[in-house]
Amino acid sequence: MSGITSFIRGFISILQGMWITLQNLVGRRKITLLYPYQRPDISPRWRGIFYLPYNDEAGRINCVGCTLCAQACPTGVITMTKMGAGKHASVNAFTMDLGRCMFCNLCIEACPFDAIHMSTRFELASLDRGVSLLTIDKLARGGADAVERTKRTIEAALEQEAAAKAAAAAAKAQAAASAQPTEGSGA
């Protein structure tokens, strides 16, 4: 008797389970994607591969080489060399070793100049380790060209500053020189 009841109970449970699977089979949209051909919708907040935005107005990347991001990074991903000085500073090397990166967002939050961003690009897999070593040419939006232009902008600004300083010094010297004879003649 108990054998029959358990058989019936088992049979009912099979029907129940099949009813649920049937509902799911016909009633629900499938959520899988044929990945390389179909792409997922990625949230704009996605923490993917980094880039250094290029500032068209200023003609340079925003980064001033302050190393705050490198200090905030728990795993030492970021290394850089600074160029320029004072108000006109940037980096001529900025390397991120993504093999060590946790995509934790701490570097982004540390940057006071909004100079480093994360993109929605997520495909990091490659057969070559070197690919995960991002140099500034790969990081800067606009590539090597943007880096070159940044360099020129900084150099021009520095030259201008130096010229202005020289001119100011010359003007001062001239003023001093022209003041001297007057003083001399006055005596």
Binding site: S6, I20, I42
Partner: protein
């Protein structure tokens, strides 16, 4: 070689020692079980751990306080927001930081979302352990939608690092509350159906009912926590007994079952998902306006001392102990993880059961090896 032999009491020539893992799908990660078998019965079982050891405690201690948060993502990677909360709370306690009220609600909401995601992994993998592949696929489909929501908020799908000392890294994106509510509406309905798929199934019941019974005394003696403890009839939930953040203002039930078997632990977790959904709804409804991040000191050098924070992660009590000597780095970070404690009960639970039941028992403990090995 002798050191590798499991400690079998009376070993006879009919015994066979086999290795389960470290790449066995039922061990949920890189766990190796050295099992001495007498026919189909388990005579002894010794878990070998450490395959995933990264020295996270030491790594956290070697860095400034606030940089230790992303490392906690790698503890219990199925519920990394809960681990973020544990370390953030410890850092707040040691540094005397306040958390704005809105951030408290955001934290609770995120943690409960992560709890559902984590329990869905349990639900799916447990069903797969027992042999029900369909439920596994359904659970992961629901989880996928939940991860999409977490991705929209935090930008990551697994290692979020979004709950930070002093608050939450960002506020919700626009229209997020509606998206979460829409998900929950659908999810709860689906959950009932999925639950039917397993709990109404006689095979699943036979495999889990009365299997791996943990008595309340044993659970307490081993330091079990979370659903394992509550499945044994001990009503302790840190969200209730030592509430933190916005939990004191939340209304929810703590599911407790007295059977102490695998089925009880399963049912507790399923019910917890429903309660988590309730908590998320309350958070969204009652969340006050305001800041998502409190005032942060520029240089964080807490005074010498210690702090201990206890949180209820999906697996049980996840606690973090910090010692400060007044410098920028902690002296010691210690993680008390639930999975490690639960895994230490395994050898007692599986003595004398059949191999298939051992898998059912291991699955019902829901251990995550990232946190066992650290």
């Amino acid at each position: 070689m002798t050191a590798m032999q499991p400690a079998v009491g009376a070993s006879t020539s009919s015994d066979m020692t086999i290795n389960l893992g470290p790449q066995h799908p039922s061990t949920h990660g890189v766990l190796r079980l050295m099992v001495a078998l007498d026919g189909e019965y388990v005579k002894s079982c010794r878990p070998v751990i450490g395959y995933l050891h990264r020295g996270l405690e030491r790594m956290m201690a070697a860095r400034p306080y606030r940089q230790s948060v992303p490392f906690t993502d790698r503890l219990d990677y199925c519920a990394s927001l809960n681990s973020n909360l544990a370390i953030s709370q410890a850092i707040e306690r040691i540094g005397g930081m306040a958390v704005p009220e809105r951030a408290q609600y955001l934290r609770v909401m995120l943690c409960e979302m992560n709890r559902i995601a984590s329990h869905l992994i349990f639900f799916g993998t447990y069903a797969a352990d027992i042999g029900a592949t369909t439920a596994f696929l359904y659970a992961f489909r629901e989880r996928e939608r939940l991860l999409d929501l977490l991705e929209a908020y935090t930008g990551a799908r697994l290692t979020y690092n979004w709950i930070r000392p002093g608050g939450v890294a960002s506020d919700m994106p626009e229209g997020y509350a509606q998206a979460v509510c829409a998900f929950l509406d659908g999810f709860l309905k689906e959950l009932d159906a999925y639950d039917t798929l397993l709990t109404k199934n006689p095979i699943f019941r036979v495999r889990t009912e009365g299997v791996g019974i943990i008595s309340p005394e044993k659970a307490i003696a081993h330091g079990a926590s979370g659903p394992v403890l509550r499945g044994s009839g001990v009503n302790i939930d840190l969200r209730r007994t030592e509430p933190y953040d916005a939990y004191p203002r939340m209304q929810f039930d703590v599911p407790v079952r007295t059977e102490g078997d695998c089925l009880a632990r399963y049912l507790v977790r399923v019910e917890e998902m429903r309660q988590s959904a309730r908590i998320i709804r309350q958070c969204l409804r009652e969340m006050p306006e305001g800041e998502h991040w409190g005032k942060q000191p520029k240089v964080f050098r807490p005074a010498a001392g210690e702090a201990y924070s206890r949180t209820e992660s999906p697996r049980g009590e996840l606690s973090i102990y910090l010692v400060s000597d007044g410098t920028a780095n902690p002296v010691r970070v210690r993680v008390r993880g639930p999975s490690f404690v639960h895994l230490s009960m395994l050898h007692e639970l599986v003595r004398g059961v059949k191999v298939a039941d051992m898998i059912a028992i291991l699955g019902s403990l829901d251990t995550v090896l990232g946190e066992v090995d650290r």
